[in-house]
Amino acid sequence: MFVRWSAAIAAAILLSSPALLQGARAADKLTDPQIAHIAYTAGVIDINAAKQAQKKARNKDVKAFAEDMLRDHEAVNKQALALVKKLNVTPEDNDTSKALSKQASEKLAEQDKLSGAAFDKAYVANEVAYHKTVNGALETQLIPSASNAELKSLLQTGLKIFQGHQQHAEHVAAELK
């Protein structure tokens, strides 16, 4: 049963459907070690995308955006690691994390084939979509499920940062057109 719900959440995150997330919320409660793992994984995914963009992006605003993502997500993940250490929590891999990682590596491979302006556009468009998805998951799933107050608070700060990233990405996307 648990596995099935995790898979449902993973699907919900992938499809970024608020309705599915809402549906999963009522019945499932992720544990703090799982939430920590998902949040950390989500950060690593964006760090990897930023590293790819640093190598491939051509537009200077896109390059600068990738640098901002790298800096912020590394800072958030550093805080997350410090927190799990302090709380003596071991992040626990789970279906949501696995699904996120799988989709991200597919995206990286897909974008690796692009270059120049096509890459810039695809990267920024994906950043908008990705942050939207992660923010939806944070708001409806991860934050409400978190038990530990410090973890909840870190996720709330994360949400504000990622909402900022989403707006920033939207601005960059608008400039590219």
């Binding site: 800096r71 800072a75 700060t157 900022g164 707006q167």
Partner: protein, 105 residues
């Protein structure tokens, strides 16, 4: 002894009168992606000091292009106000951080 005290007192008065009364430093904090106070008032000649308490870099960027102050993680940045008006500003990295500065002449 009373002579020396009054000399000190007048020296203090001289120093006090040499500093214009309105040249204040206004502190604005950025913490957990919140700008506080969100709406600040100041006068031309005042200094704004933004204190970034986050582990993330922020900026104080005027919507009208008047200023763009970089605020690295856990660092402060200052700006001396030169022009009156109400300025809307935001963080370039996190545009959801918005605030206004009312600058009186």
């Amino acid at each position: 002894m009373p002579g020396r005290l009054s000399a000190i007192a007048s020296a203090v008065l001289l120093v006090a009168s040499a500093v214009p009364a309105h040249a204040a430093t206004i502190e604005i904090t950025m913490e957990n992606l919140e700008v506080s106070p969100k709406d600040a008032s100041a006068e031309v000649g005042d200094t704004i000091e933004w204190i970034n308490k986050d582990v993330f870099a922020h900026t104080a960027t005027a919507g009208n292009g008047d200023f763009d102050v970089n605020l690295p993680a856990k660092k402060s940045g200052t700006l001396v106000l030169k022009k009156a008006g109400t300025v809307y500003y935001y963080c370039r990295y996190h545009p959801n951080m918005k605030a206004t500065l009312k600058i009186e002449p």
